[in-house]
């Protein structure tokens, strides 16, 4: 299993130049990818712009959206942005898409929430057509375009993933939850007669450091997930705050068949990258 790290693009203090220093350190570290989240109505960076900046200061890591909310973006514009990012990064983009979890992210850009699942399906169908032969260019590194992942927990999401993408991106939770979703992803893939197997990506949150660091991490998660009501407290409680918790989590995901696990920060100090690298070194 490969391990990636998130950019602090949604974390207080991280949504700006600190993300660049973070990206440089990650590129030098043991990480396979840099991940970003998408949220409109929040003090956070746009995920594709954040990755474009990261592309400029890195040369090795893959750049993954976990995820971009597809239906609030016009398909051709999204295709253009993704192709641009692919070209700027030398083919390092992995485009994770889903319908998103927050309704106000639809309301703010005045996009209808109704039929958003169907619209995401439509986008998945259309994106490769846009990328084809650089029609909505630049031409992508792989002729079929960047790798596409789909997230979501409904049966429709798994079907959408299996029909029209390269793999599944999970929204986080304990290894057991990931294993359940992975089994559904494999079943859907098989059900749709896709050869081979889906790429399976997981994610988790961490904060390493003193009590203050841990508390700031939890406070950020409570705030970021406040729209889920009491669920926010559970996300905050599950934050990985010790090396042992991170190691157990990584092992759990590995056993569950995860291909790439991205650990997302909850505090913005760049030394988090080094601390996490240290934990990986001890594996």
């Amino acid at each position: 299993m490969r391990v990636g790290i998130g950019l602090p693009s949604t974390v207080p203090g991280g949504a700006g130049r600190p993300s660049l220093e973070w990206a440089r350190r990650a590129d030098r570290g043991p990480f396979s990818s840099l991940g970003v989240l998408d949220r409109v109505v929040y003090e956070s960076l746009d995920p594709l712009l954040a990755l474009a900046a990261a592309a400029a200061v890195t040369s090795r890591v893959r750049l993954v959206t976990m995820v971009v909310v597809g239906p609030i973006r016009a398909t051709a514009v999204l295709a253009k942005q993704a192709a641009s990012l692919d070209a700027l990064s030398g083919g390092r983009l992995v485009l994770g898409l889903s319908i998103g979890a927050r309704l106000d992210d639809y309301d703010a850009p005045q996009i209808s929430r109704r039929g958003r699942g169907g619209r995401l399906s439509h986008q998945l169908l259309e994106l490769p057509e846009c990328w084809e032969r650089g029609r909505i260019g630049p031409g992508t590194t792989a002729s079929k375009g960047p790798e596409v992942l789909v997230g979501g927990l409904s049966g429709e999401s798994f079907a959408r993933m299996a029909r029209w993408s390269d793999g599944y991106v999970h929204g986080g939770g304990p290894p057991r939850a990931f294993a359940g979703a992975a089994s559904k992803a494999r079943a859907a893939w098989r059900d749709h007669g896709r050869p081979g197997r889906p790429q399976l990506w997981g994610q988790g949150y961490f904060a390493l450091g003193d009590q203050d660091t841990v508390e700031r991490g939890a406070a950020y998660l409570r705030d970021y997930y406040s729209f889920t009501g009491p669920f926010a407290e559970k996300v905050a409680a599950a934050n990985l705050t010790t090396p042992q918790a991170i190691i157990d989590f990584i092992r759990g995901y590995e056993d569950a068949g995860c291909d790439e696990l991205v650990l997302l920060p909850t505090v913005a100090e760049p030394d988090q990258v080094d601390r996490l690298a240290g934990v990986l070194a001890s594996l």
Partner: protein
């Protein structure tokens, strides 16, 4: 901490005493609206596992409870004039009344204040640091804030009444009795030296036919006593506010709101047929008390960890309980099963006890099931069900395992590729009884992608003959051909790039039942006219004739996944106004003509199956009961088995990929239409196969070992030296 517990059932009392025990500085008050000795219901059951948890949490209660315990280890299934006994299931039972008495006494000993006959209103909660809503399934506290807790309720389709009886059963006993009104079942278990619980359950329509909807308590008792006279052997039924009710499965997204926390039935219920409500309630109490002890000054944190700890566990029981309840709601379906298989099905109904677990508990029982399944005399050594041969017409499969390698779209002009041959050979070498090909097209237009293999040409037949001969020579597997026509899902790119992406160039004109494209990107198919229909029939017939000459053992017609024959079946894709469109019979006409053509061209001594969509997975499409009617018709026409498929009729379906997601459809079709079924859908272990087969939910399984399984999750050819 000042703690107010609303409700003096098992959850409230146990929590109260555990808190006081942990820290006598807590002030704990339990408010109960009833008097100390007024309680409904009879006995409750615990498993060994629960007892262990209770022992660790409070030894004194545990000892008191186990002193009064009824213990037994057998389950009796009384069905079809036979009683089948299975042992090794250790249960303990006690009376609810006795349990509450013990808990009340213990509460008093440790200094919990008990206030009886106080009905607490949700808008007048006692002043406390923590309010524990232990007020049962109808919790007024929860109901006062449904949106905060995210409450969902599912009302079950059967009626039940909770009676007692002075007959002391020797085992946990399931009784099935049918009269002119319908089928009734009883769940009965002893709980002390004199009394047993006796729950009577039946479908709502049976309950109405029997007039029980209008009957009072005495009339109900009289009715049930008469119906179960033989089982009661002169003993009588006892009532204790035993009215007929429907069970409600209750879920809450969140179990706490500020300083109010739900426990037990107030938070969740699980259908009584797995008898775990009291267990879950008391385990909630243990968990909540533990987390409060761990974080005494961080209430929010403690309540969050309590939820994180308990919710996944409770969900697992609720899932099992739903499967168990579904079994009892549909039990009429199994009336045709032999008693031993009926019992095996009953015992494995919830998914918690598999064939393997049953074998661990009761080896002789499983030995009896296995020898019955293998058709061998009792007491003989029998293979596990998945390794038992199956005979259909002149074809004998060595076992029930079917391998179905995914296609790789690598045929050339319909001619199967060398790597396709290797995929099939590897599948056969894994020891499967039957190997099923990917969809093989009856005509060039019937291909899904340009790489779909075909059988419309004698050159294809030659290539297939070499493959089939090699499989027959080198392995014991039989070989099934899956014959089909892609219809409106044709002319697409290789599925490496996803499904249903139209070819950029080199496409062909598509045909379907009606001119509706598969996706917005897809070509609009031509509606097949009479001439087109008879050409398709011809193509199927010729392909079947070739298949016979090739030497395939079994032929399966693809009437699923939205391909051509299936496009006629579903109202979502067939809007024709001729005799091939309209009601279910008209929509079935063309698929039947295809089937008849194939059946006639194919040897009488060889088996023919149909791969069939059991549900479109949409609210408007084919319904499961229509699929049963379709299968009955197919069976009359000489169909030997049905391969259960679902969805793909339209690309916006709403599938469900949970554990063994196709098995309920297989169960229904097999047992309602009386036909052999082949089922896949995430069947990944031999234990799953054994459980499905022994219970009579299918006859053959598509086996997909997980990645990394040495039996071959991947179909990469690795020659063994």
């Amino acid at each position: 901490m000042r703690i107010a517990v609303i409700g003096g059932g098992p959850a409230g009392l146990y929590f109260g005493l555990l808190m006081r025990k942990a820290d006598p500085s807590h002030q704990v008050t339990v408010y109960e609206r009833n008097a100390p000795d007024a309680t409904f219901g009879w006995g409750v059951v615990f498993s060994e596992e629960t007892l262990g948890a209770l022992r660790d949490a409070d030894r004194v209660t545990f000892d008191a409870i186990t002193d009064s315990w009824a213990r037994w280890s057998a389950i009796d299934v009384k069905y079809g004039g036979e009683t089948i006994r299975s042992r090794g299931h250790v249960f303990s039972g006690t009376s609810r009344k006795g349990l509450l008495q013990i808990l009340q006494d213990r509460c008093r000993d440790v200094g919990v204040e008990l206030r009886f006959e106080v009905d607490v209103a949700p808008d007048a909660l006692p002043d406390a640091d923590l309010v524990v809503a232990a007020d049962g399934v109808n919790s007024a506290i929860r109901r006062a804030r449904p949106s905060v807790f995210g409450t969902r309720e599912h009302v079950h389709g059967t009626k039940y009444a909770w009676f007692g009886t002075d007959l002391v059963f020797k085992a946990f006993t399931f009784i099935f009795r049918e009269n002119e009104h319908g089928l009734f079942q009883v769940h009965a278990y002893p709980f002390d030296a004199r009394t047993s619980t006796f729950i009577v359950e039946c479908p709502e329509e049976v309950w109405q036919r029997a007039g029980l909807d209008l009957a009072g308590e005495e009339d109900s008792i009289r009715y049930c006593q008469q119906l179960f006279a033989e089982d009661l052997a002169g003993h009588s039924l006892l009532s204790n506010r035993s009215s007929w009710v429907s069970f409600v499965t209750l879920r809450n997204e969140s179990w706490h709101d500020g300083a109010v926390v739900l426990v037990g039935d107030a938070a969740h219920t699980a259908h009584f047929t797995i008898g775990s409500g009291t267990k879950l309630a008391m385990e909630d109490a243990i968990s909540l008390a533990e987390w409060l002890e761990r974080y005494p000054r961080e209430l929010e944190r403690a309540l969050t960890f309590y939820e994180l700890d308990r919710q996944p566990m409770v969900e697992r029981f609720q899932q099992a309980a739903l499967e168990s309840a579904a079994y009892f709601e549909n039990v009429r379906r199994y009336a045709g099963l032999e008693p031993i298989q009926f019992a095996s099905n009953l015992l494995t109904r919830s998914g918690r006890i598999t064939h393997l677990e049953l074998e661990r508990r009761d080896p002789p029982f499983v030995a009896a099931v296995d020898s019955w399944f293998a058709g061998r005399p009792e007491g003989s050594v029998a293979p596990p069900p998945h390794l038992v041969p199956l005979r259909s017409r002149g074809v004998t499969l060595g076992n029930r395992v079917v391998r179905w390698p995914t296609g790789e779209d690598d045929a050339k002009d319909g001619k199967p590729s060398a790597s396709l041959a290797i995929r099939l050979l590897d599948a056969a070498r894994s020891g499967a009884g039957l190997v099923l090909t990917e969809l093989v097209a009856v005509s060039p237009e019937g291909r899904i992608t340009p790489g779909t293999p075909g059988l419309w040409d004698d050159r294809h037949a030659q290539a297939w003959r070499e493959i089939v001969e090699r499989l027959h020579q080198e392995t014991d597997a039989r070989v099934a051909l899956l014959l089909g026509h892609s219809g409106r899902r044709g002319a697409t790119r290789p599925r490496r790039e996803g499904t249903d992406r139209p070819l950029r160039e080199g496409g062909w004109e598509l045909v379907s039942a009606s001119p509706i494209p598969y996706t917005e990107r897809s070509q609009i198919p031509k509606e097949l006219d009479e001439a087109g229909l008879s050409k398709v029939l011809d193509d199927f017939r010729r392909a079947a004739e070739r298949a016979e000459r090739v030497g395939f053992d079994v032929l399966e017609v693809h009437v699923g996944h939205g391909y051509l024959p299936a496009s006629f079946l579903s109202p979502l894709t067939n809007v024709r106004t001729d005799r091939y469109g309209g009601g279910p019979e008209e929509r079935l006409r063309f698929p039947l003509e295809v089937f008849d053509a194939v059946r006639a061209a194919w040897g009488k001594d060889r088996a023919v199956g149909v791969a069939l969509t059991a549900t479109d997975w949409t609210s408007q499409g084919t319904l499961p009961q229509e699929a049963v009617a379709t299968v009955r018709t197919l069976k009359e026409r000489g169909c030997d088995y049905v391969h259960i498929l679902a969805g793909h009729t339209v690309p916006w379906d709403r599938p469900e990929y949970g554990r063994l997601y196709l098995v309920p459809h297989s169960d229904r079709i097999r047992n309602e239409a009386g036909i052999a079924t082949l089922v896949g859908g995430n069947v990944t272990t031999s234990d799953e196969m054994n459980t499905i087969l022994a219970a009579g939910r299918a006859d053959l399984c598509v086996f997909d070992p997980p990645p990394g399984d040495p039996r071959g999750g991947s179909f990469v050819y690795a020659p063994s030296s």
